[in-house]
């Protein structure tokens, strides 16, 4: 079977991201998965165990400051060279900002079609995408070149399949043009133990109804009790209740967790765009006519400042 390249997405703090495991799982149905690690020196060694656990038969590593010290251009050059050499059956990247950006450059370098935000991919290269705020399901294919696909997190259930990957260090031969956008500083913010928003199995979001930044503690408390991530509607972010990187919706993150809980969110289409493919949706809102209830599998019409503390107590009792 031919190789399928999976461009690994990982964070410094938590290692291999779940979407990478999803891609390896998907890649096993299309061919033989090879993981491509692009990062600082030693990145591949740190990630190899997890990648092997999910079926990476091989790991290609491009490491060092030439890769890590710039925005995506050097990474794209390395992957493009690798694609030309190994002629894979497909290239999978995460549908994150970085994954999409590497894919964008690959598409131009290789004069190849690109499909983003893919939620399923069959062996014949047919991809499923969800468009227009989750209202439309699209099946599409790359018609020039190989399937170059970015996979949306939480699309595939990762399953382990142990392999013992050999690591091949790639020669990093990037040009000056690849080094035009230099990263001069990386600042960590909002560190914590909560899962990353787009990858979380449970997301608890607050909206305008939460009232102020301080009250978001209530949203965080419920999220922590459920092991979830915290999200916020655009109205809440615009009002300064919660930072922008947690915004769910049209101009923020798209999430598709097992459980989405909307607190004090009316459910404007801009918000629904980011969450309506969630498996189960629960809403608490004092306005019984709020459009969020049209989506909710379970809705409580009531004051979230009464409902949420009671729910939190009830969860603690059951633990």
């Amino acid at each position: 079977m031919s190789e399928v390249l999976v461009v690994v997405e990982a964070t410094r703090e938590f290692g291999v991201k779940k979407v990478t495991l999803e891609m390896l799982t998907l890649a096993r149905e299309l061919g033989t998965p090879s993981a491509v690690v692009l990062g600082g020196t030693g990145a591949a060694e740190a990630l190899a165990g997890k990648l092997g656990e999910y079926g990476a038969e091989k790991i290609y590593a491009a490491e060092g400051d030439e890769i890590d010290g710039y925005l995506v251009a050097p990474k794209a050059t390395v992957v493009a060279d690798l694609v030309k050499r190994v002629q894979p059956a497909a290239v999978l990247l995460a549908s994150s900002q970085e994954g999409k950006e590497i894919a964008a450059r690959l598409a131009v370098k290789l004069d190849n079609g690109i499909l983003t935000d893919v939620v399923a991919l069959t062996a014949d290269g047919t991809a499923t995408q969800v468009a227009f705020a989750g209202s439309t399901i699209v099946k599409s294919k790359v018609t020039r070149g190989l399937p170059l696909v970015t996979v949306r997190p939480n699309s595939v259930t990762p399953t382990a399949a142990a392999a013992t990957p050999a690591v091949e260090q790639l020669t990093v031969a990037v040009t000056d043009t690849d080094k035009l956008a230099k990263v001069v500083d990386r600042v960590a913010e909002q560190k914590g133990s909560r899962p990353e928003l787009t990858e979380a199995g449970v997301v608890v979001s607050g909206g305008r109804g939460v009232g102020n930044a301080d009250n978001f503690k209530l949203v965080e408390e419920l999220a922590d009790l459920l092991g979830g991530a915290v999200g916020a509607s655009r109205a809440a972010v615009d009002s300064g209740f919660y930072p922008h990187q947690f915004q769910v919706g049209q101009t923020g993150k798209t999430v598709s967790p097992q459980l989405y809980i909307a607190l004090g969110i009316s459910g404007a289409i801009q918000h629904r765009a980011g969450m309506q493919t969630s498996k189960t949706i629960v809403a608490v809102n004092k306005d019984g006519e709020a459009p969020i209830f049209e989506l909710a599998d379970f809705g409580v019409v009531g004051d979230l400042f009464k409902v949420v503390p009671q729910a939190a107590d009830e969860i603690r009792k059951r633990k």
């Binding site: 964070t11 703090e13 925005l71 251009a73 794209a76 999409k100 950006e101 964008a104 450059r105 598409a107 131009v108 004069d111 190849n112 079609g113 983003t116 935000d117 047919t126 969800v130 468009a131 227009f132 989750g134 209202s135 439309t136 399901i137 599409s140 294919k141 035009l180 956008a181 990263v183 001069v184 500083d185 990386r186 600042v187 960590a188 913010e189 990353e196 928003l197 449970v202 459920l226 922008h244 049209q250 101009t251 459980l259 404007a268 189960t280 629960v282 608490v284 209830f293 049209e294 909710a296 379970f298 409580v300 019409v301 009531g302 009464k306 409902v307 503390p309 009671q310 009830e314 059951r318």
Partner: protein, 259 residues
């Protein structure tokens, strides 16, 4: 500083949007077409840079004739002029071909800085800045929440999942912006009137030296095979809190095995 802002006309994201049944492209005919919301932040940023450093702001749009409405709207905010790439052969172009056309147009505009929104609300693909940078051999600084211009040096703060990065590049460069970067101004009455008289140059594929066969549905590098409307979610149980709403909520979560 010579600044070009990429502006796209999109179907209103607040209304029902569809793909056409005949050729699987975005149905723009029946939609309420508006300026891509994200692009307004790029225009605002361009105007602020012009106000601080001088120069000229040009709007660049690729789209059908009706995109003129969005170009005038963009101009009413304050840019100096616009370039509209319009050609029937462009209908159905994929992102790869679109980047080829826009790169050709940018090649004629001699921009120091190209600004755009981080995504369009229709496709949400987010690939254009890097595709253009790849074709033009310039830097792409994407997802800016803050942009500082100091002579020919650009410094961008960009949100990441773990915090933020500070990235620098020299002009010429492409910068895409998020909606946290500024608060776009509303066009004034004077601005709206002035926009009607501002120059809008139209360019065809021939003007750009791009062959019709490289764009449109025939030249596309990917194709929609089929599409369908996702069945709308139907609301489930809705209870009114009469003192036990929180407990009922948890009971639901328990039956769904979340607690």
């Amino acid at each position: 500083m010579n600044i070009v802002v990429l502006v796209k006309q999109v179907p209103d994201s607040g209304a029902d949007r569809n793909l056409r049944t005949d050729d699987n492209t975005v149905d723009r005919g029946s939609a309420n077409n508006v300026i891509n919301e994200m692009d307004e932040y790029a225009i605002e940023e361009a105007l602020k840079i012009k106000e601080a450093h001088g120069g000229e702001v040009t709007i660049l749009t690729m789209g059908p004739d009706r995109a003129t409405e969005s170009i005038r709207k963009a101009l009413s905010m304050g840019p100096d002029k616009a370039v509209h790439v319009v050609d029937d052969a462009l209908h159905g172009s994929c992102a790869v071909a679109t980047s080829k056309v826009l790169a050709a147009a940018l090649g004629q505009l001699n921009a120091d800085l190209v600004l755009c929104g981080s995504e369009s609300t229709d496709g949400r693909v987010q690939v254009l800045p890097h595709m253009l940078a790849e074709r033009l051999g310039v830097a792409a600084l994407t997802g800016a929440r803050k942009l500082t211009v100091d002579g020919a040096t650009l410094t961008v703060e960009r949100q990441t999942e773990e915090g933020y990065e500070v990235v620098t590049a020299s002009t010429p460069a492409i910068v895409s912006v998020w909606d946290t970067i500024n608060e776009p101004r509303y066009p004034s009455f004077k601005g709206i009137m002035a926009a009607k008289k501002k120059p809008v140059q139209t360019l065809s594929l021939a003007d750009l030296g791009v062959a019709a066969a490289e764009v449109g549905l025939d030249g596309a590098t990917s194709a929609v095979v089929e599409h369908s409307k996702r069945p709308p979610r139907s609301g489930g149980v809705k209870v009114t809190d009469e003192g036990s709403g929180g407990a009922q909520l948890v009971e639901f979560l328990a039956t769904e095995k979340f607690v």
